[in-house]
């Protein structure tokens, strides 16, 4: 019997073996353990004058884990099958004795195990929360069960889209869309339904029960309920059952769709040449000029003007939807300033995500296509290569930046607000810190994209988060006191030093990556 099962688990076992040899796995586990210890140490002073210090630490741990799973899941699982399609190696895998189930298990379940182990490694440390007081062992275990089930669900949604889509970017986008439709949209519906009932109109009971059910299965709400000191909730919370069933359905669908969706991929089948616009006809991309690399990145990495317009339209649409939702639940028309605030917040959020993604893709795309070597051997120098890459990536940030600026303009477009606006030292120091943080993050992600093949953006986020905690803890431990302004300026200086160190290492990393192709 075991002999028959061997081919099914062959790829799975190999993936586990590779993970156990990788440097990333122990580093990630060590970082998580460090983070937990810092949380506990950071809260140590408040332990004496709080009734439930353990609860405080547990809330921090589960929320950090929830968002880490969401980001880690999107970046890791959505590429499970698409990376094979992109490398044209899926056909080779299918030619072996590996059937679709074996490929799915090997490519995705091994990564799920890695994620589950990352959760498991935290459990003994999190048990300290029980000693600190305020939570029971049941609550701790329930939180980790909810997180594990959420990870399982996310893994399988991403796997399903990875089977259906040809490219990782599309699979990631579809996983995000599914997550929003599943977890976020019901919240909007609920708030709208609630707003309608305040107006004297009664909300139909079936809508209420459906919406309440959807909220019940949301892991964030389930985690919040589980951490509350009231207790008394059943161990098998709603979200666990739903996540497990949903995950299994998605895995089943991925298995069913594997053959129809993956046999049409292009590996080993010569593809007929596609024709571009007729010979001599000018393409909308025009011709490259002196900054050829910037031109290439703008058109072929960022998608060119068309992509800019599409993204601008999507952002405006979502921002307007947000305004409409806010107006509906407040039951009043919004003023220009309120709309401005929403545009600003939404614009900054989109800008931050795009900023990280652009930084991550800048060199990762060249490494993936093995084109960094030929760019590196151009007679222009590494400095110019980096500058042109940045120049080619910046226009991609225009739609989100324009939305945020429009929001700012709407907020400050009235004389009284303009008078209120003061350029205080706190404001200047805060702005310096934010700008330093953004630049540090971009340089860090760029550097990581030259070092690692997978998920530099997510790793960058985790590193920044960890660094932030370590710096805050160190400043507190070293007794760095003073005004907020001086603390922010100290942090900015630390960030600038770190940025300069990383930036100085990028040319060398480019050379190493180019030579390693």
């Amino acid at each position: 019997m075991f002999t028959k099962l061997r081919p099914i688990f062959a790829l799975f076992v190999r993936s586990l073996r590779e993970q156990s040899r990788a440097k990333f796995t122990p580093l990630a586990r060590g970082s998580l353990a460090l983070l937990l210890l810092l949380f506990i140490a950071g809260n140590e002073r408040s332990f004496t004058h709080r009734t439930a210090p353990g609860q405080q630490v547990l809330i921090l741990v589960v929320m950090v884990n929830f968002f880490a799973i969401a980001i880690f899941g999107l970046s890791t699982f959505a590429s499970a099958i698409t990376e094979e399609k992109e490398d044209d190696t899926l056909g080779l895998l299918q030619m072996t004795r590996l059937n679709p189930l074996a490929i799915l298990l090997g490519k995705s379940t091994a990564r799920l195990c890695e994620g589950l182990l990352l959760l498991a490694v935290q459990i003994p440390f999190t048990m300290l929360c029980i000693t600190l007081g305020g939570v029971s062992m049941d609550q701790v275990l329930r939180c980790f069960a909810i997180l594990a089930a959420f990870l399982f669900f996310l893994c399988n949604i991403a796997l399903l889209w990875s089977v259906v889509c040809r490219r990782t970017a599309r699979a990631t986008a579809m996983t995000v869309a599914t997550g929003i439709a599943f977890y976020v949209m019901p919240l909007f519906l609920f708030s709208i339904a609630l707003a309608s009932s305040f107006g004297g109109r009664s909300t139909p009971s079936w809508i209420e029960s459906v919406v309440q059910y959807w909220i019940g299965i949301n892991p964030i709400f389930d985690l919040t309920r589980s951490v509350l000191p009231r207790g008394g909730l059943p161990f098998a919370a709603d979200s666990i059952t739903t996540s497990l069933i949903g995950g299994m359905i998605c895995f089943g669908l991925a298995w069913l769709l594997f053959k129809p969706c993956c046999n049409s991929s292009r590996e080993a089948i010569p593809q007929a040449a596609k024709k571009s616009p007729a010979s001599g006809q000018r393409t909308p991309r025009g011709r490259p000029g002196r900054r050829a690399i910037a031109w290439k990145d703008f058109h072929f990495l960022g998608g060119g003007k068309r992509s800019l317009l599409i993204r601008a339209a999507i952002y405006v649409l979502f921002a307007l939807l947000l305004v409409w939702w806010f107006a509906t639940i407040n039951r009043s028309a919004l003023r220009s300033r309120e709309v401005g605030v929403m545009f600003w917040v939404f614009g900054v959020l989109c800008f931050s995500v795009e900023f990280g993604l652009v930084s991550a893709r800048m060199f990762a795309a060249e490494r993936k296509r093995k084109t960094l070597g030929v760019l590196y051997t151009l007679p222009n120098g590494t400095g110019r290569l980096v500058r042109e890459k940045i120049l080619g990536g910046l226009p991609q940030l225009l739609p989100s930046a324009a939305l945020a600026i429009t929001g700012l303009f709407m907020i400050f477009n009235k004389p009284d607000f303009r008078n209120d606006l003061e350029f205080t030292p706190e404001f200047a120091a805060g702005l310096t810190l934010v700008i330093s943080g953004y630049i540090f993050f971009a340089v860090l992600v760029m550097y990581l994209s030259l070092r690692m093949r997978r998920a530099p953006f997510v790793t960058g986020l985790c590193v920044v988060f960890l660094l932030w905690i370590v710096i805050a803890f160190s400043m507190d431990g070293l007794g760095v006191r003073g005004s907020e302004v001086s603390q922010m300026l100290t942090l900015s200086t630390i960030l600038w030093i770190a940025t300069l160190i990383l930036a100085s290492k990028i040319p060398n990393r480019i050379a190493i990556s180019a030579a390693a192709e």
């Binding site: 040449a273 030929v374 760019l375």
Partner: protein, 317 residues
């Protein structure tokens, strides 16, 4: 006055951690020649090519291209070389024309220069009819041609080609070799690596054989197949052994050695001083001795044999 070598590598050494990829490599490549760089897998060919292409700095030793140090005058050297790696470095969403146009612009060429050069290289590589096709739809052979066109787009004097014929069908290989011959006629120096010596035999003027990171032979192709002999050598093959032939030949002035048949094959190898004796005189003397000659030819090693003699068996550890 002699033309200085286009490539001059002296005592090059490069190691990846504890693994020494190339050790004490020294050779030169003449201008306007095709130089083969041959060795078994893992011999250090790609590492040497990467050093020449300025992708890797030499850890010890010196490397000059066109008389310029490739480390100190890197950008100047890069302008004069075209490097084609052993994999396709392609932007698959571009058309063939866009791909070449991009690289032309990246090398600082004006639009009019690019239009002319791209038309020329597309004609040379026989890809003019496919210039509006997307790269991702092209066959392997065509992608190889596009890669070669990309290398040529800025009109470099030295082409560094890493296994350009690997994975190509026999027809595509022959066509590629014809393109390289044409490039040599246009005055380019071509440095081409391969792990198959016979593939380069008719193409190359000179060759360097590398094995386990060390140079085993560097020099002309003829020197490789003729070997280290005091003069010229010819072989006479007879229908059957004929002892009077040895006496007749040793009596000739200028003969340095006559090697008798071994393994039962009636094949005599004659080494002689070409200044004192001609192959015609040897043939006449052999016929006069009454030998029944079935073949008379220059005594050269088979290329594969030469390669096997110079390289060690087994896998590099």
């Amino acid at each position: 006055m002699d033309t200085p070598p286009v490539i001059d590598i002296r005592n090059l050494r490069h190691a990846y951690k504890n693994h020494v990829a190339v050790a004490d490599v020294t050779f030169t490549v003449d201008a306007r020649s095709i130089h083969g760089f041959v060795g078994p897998n893992g011999a250090g060919k790609t590492t040497t090519l990467k050093v020449l292409a300025t992708l890797l700095p030499p850890q010890t030793g010196t490397v000059f291209a066109f008389g310029k140090d490739i480390v100190r005058e890197r950008n100047s050297v890069r302008q004069k070389i075209g490097y084609m790696p052993d994999h396709f470095s392609m932007y698959r969403q571009m058309t063939v024309f866009e791909y070449l146009d991009f690289f032309g612009a990246a090398y600082g060429m004006s639009q009019s220069q690019r239009d002319k050069t791209i038309a020329d290289v597309l004609a040379l590589t026989d890809m003019a009819g496919r210039k509006d096709d997307f790269v991702q739809g092209l066959s392997r052979g065509m992608q190889q041609r596009v890669s070669l066109a990309r290398v040529l787009v800025h009109d470099p004097d030295l082409l560094l080609l890493d296994e350009p014929a690997s994975g190509l069908d026999p027809r595509a290989r022959i066509e590629l070799m014809e393109i390289l011959q044409e490039l040599k006629r246009l005055g380019k120096t071509i440095f081409i690596s391969s792990h198959i010596l016979s593939e380069l035999a008719e193409l190359c003027d000179s060759v360097t054989i590398l094995d386990r990171g060390a140079v085993k032979y560097t020099g002309t192709m003829r020197g490789l197949i003729v070997g280290e002999k005091s003069g010229d050598a010819f072989a006479i093959t007879l229908a059957a052994e004929h002892p009077p032939l040895v006496a007749a030949l040793t009596a000739l002035p200028g003969i340095t050695r006559v090697q008798q048949p071994v393994n039962g094959e009636a094949r005599y190898t004659i080494e002689f001083d070409p200044a004192a004796l001609s192959p015609n005189a040897i043939l006449q003397a052999a016929l006069a001795s009454g030998a029944s000659i079935t073949a008379f030819q220059e005594d050269v090693k088979h290329l594969n044999q030469a390669f096997m003699d110079l390289t060690e068996p087994g896998v590099r550890t």
